[in-house]
Amino acid sequence: MKRIQTIETRNLKASKKTGGCGECQTSCQSACKTSCGVANQQCEKYLEKNK
């Protein structure tokens, strides 16, 4: 596409089928402790696969 570039991202709809294992880190347990979100958490399955 000439005027639109799409950045590679995880397909959230597809993750409805593959996600939900719960092995990922708890949001607040890393560095913030006061203003957490979930965006900067990593998928444990993905980490395992790409070790």
């Binding site: 596409m1 000439k2 005027r3 639109i4 570039q5 799409t6 950045i7 590679e8 991202t9 995880r10 397909n11 959230l12 709809k13 993750s15 409805k16 593959t18 996600g19 939900g20 719960g22 092995e23 990922c24 880190q25 708890t26 949001s27 607040c28 347990q29 890393s30 560095a31 913030c32 402790k33 006061t34 203003s35 957490c36 979100g37 979930v38 965006a39 900067n40 958490q41 990593q42 998928c43 444990e44 993905y46 980490l47 790409n50």
Partner: protein, 458 residues
């Protein structure tokens, strides 16, 4: 739902429910904004008029952009519908395992930081240390309630956890001793002010701790202004050399230098760059959590400066990366391909359900920020969770529980935000801490822009 914004020369379009991110030129940016509001003919007419001085913008060009938009819509990358609502309530309600504990091993501190939400480590109570017996029982409680989850997290927190260091070491040793038999993998974190760091702490933590969080607010004058010892003397000179040694010997293991910024240092990038000048690369800087009446509380008038600071930080980070001297900022760490699945994104932070805080005497709270508030006592590690009413409140606490989040583009990045911040700002864990939202949204915009810029560099 879409979110369109311009930052650092990039036009960015975020498709909220698929997670897709597009970078587009000005014409496509405008056409996307009009696509659902106007007919094809109206869009073409409007664009030809707007771009009359741009010879590359022809009727055919505009039609091509519209075709591209249709293609992206058909492939589920633009204008995707929300189909997660029921999932959010079902998932969290059915998910009853605990996978993380914040162990308050010391309700006491050797610093007297003015802004401390834990009231100098005491959490509105007495100074008290956790015994090994309580710590051991907490580990057993976690294992027993973790179901089939393999990865379990334990954060040694306080107060100042190094004031009870021998017990920390004993708890770690105990957890390691049962890890294999119970088929678990413990990940320990230590959050410390650094005053008591010595060779033993460094060696042990670098062997056992998955992550260490080291509190430093940045420049000496900023740090010393609020992070003082009991005699009122700033702690910068004591802790900085210790942190440098700690990190130097840590190798590739995770750490964060974590600061807090307040109304006193709204130009907080100066503090982040100071951390970098000290040789640290893994950095985190958090807005202060306090009463609006405190003199250092952030105000709405501070927001424009804070936004500018976040943008400046993102641009500087891109620049440092280009120069081969990258730094990491916790809130800009978004893994677009390996990030959280939709379940994680809609179910909230996990406080009170999969994550709990344990006091030195074994009482359970939904998270460290609720400790000391009797209304939020969940039970204890000996008898388990008995305050089901409060736990249910947290079970239903997700991004869809908040009316204010309904039309927010950032909801799948924050998952409704921090329950404690919401409670302190509104009196309800399902409320919204709007000030925090403003900062959060700005950070996500910057983080995504950095990814776009990185793709551009490549």
């Amino acid at each position: 739902m879409l979110h369109q914004y311009k930052l650092n020369g990039y036009n960015i379009v975020l498709d909220v429910f698929s997670g897709s991110i597009h970078t587009v030129d000005d014409l496509a940016y405008d056409v996307i904004a009009l696509y659902k509001k106007k007919s094809k003919e109206e869009i073409i007419s409007e664009m030809l008029n707007k771009y009359k001085n741009d010879k590359t913008v022809t009727e055919n060009e505009i039609s091509d952009v519209i075709s591209d938009i249709i293609e992206l819509e058909n492939s589920g990358k633009l204008f995707t519908e929300d189909e997660y609502k029921d999932l959010a309530f079902d998932f969290k309600n059915n998910n009853t395992v605990i996978k993380a504990l914040c162990l308050h091993v010391a309700h006491t501190c050797n610093l007297n930081c003015e802004y401390c939400f834990a009231s100098q480590g005491k959490y509105q109570g007495e100074r008290v240390l956790m015994s090994f017996e309580v710590g051991k029982k907490a580990i057993d409680f976690l294992v027993e309630n973790s179901g089939s989850r393999k990865n379990l997290e334990v954060d040694f927190f306080g107060g100042e956890p190094l004031m009870n260091w021998e017990v920390v070491k004993q708890i770690v040793a105990y957890a390691r001793s049962i890890e294999k038999e119970k088929n678990k993998n413990f990940r320990f974190t230590l959050t410390t002010n650094g005053v008591l760091i010595d060779d033993d702490v460094i060696d042990f933590a670098n062997k056992e701790m998955y992550n260490v969080v080291l509190s430093l607010d940045g420049r000496k004058e900023v740090h010393d202004h609020l992070r003082k010892n009991i005699n009122g003397k700033g702690s910068y000179d004591i802790i900085v050399p210790k942190f440098q040694e700690f990190v130097k010997r840590r190798g590739n293991k995770g750490y964060y230098i974590r600061g807090t910024f307040t109304h006193n240092n709204t130009h907080f990038t100066k503090d982040i760059f100071h951390m970098a000048d000290l040789g640290f690369t893994e950095l985190s800087m958090e807005p202060v959590v306090c009463s609006p009446d405190d003199p250092y509380a952030l105000t709405y008038n501070d927001l424009p400066v804070l936004f500018e600071q976040y943008e400046l930080l993102a641009k500087e980070m891109i620049d440092r990366q280009k120069k081969g001297k990258p730094i990491t900022f916790y809130h800009y760490m978004i893994d677009l391909t390996g990030g959280p699945c939709i379940y994680k994104r809609i179910s909230g932070c996990g406080s009170g359900t999969e994550y709990m805080a344990v006091t030195p005497w074994g009482e359970l709270f939904p998270c460290h920020q609720f400790v000391g508030d009797p209304k939020y006592s969940l039970g204890n590690i000996f008898d388990g969770v008995n305050n089901k009413e409060i736990q249910n409140e947290f079970k239903l606490c997700n991004v869809y529980a908040r009316e204010e989040c309904k039309d927010c583009w950032a909801k799948l990045y924050c998952s409704g935000g921090c329950a404690a911040n919401a409670y302190h700002a509104t009196g309800s864990v399902t409320g919204v801490y709007k000030y925090g939202c403003e900062l959060f949204k700005k950070r996500i915009e910057c983080a995504i822009m950095m990814h776009v810029a990185q793709a551009d560099i490549k």
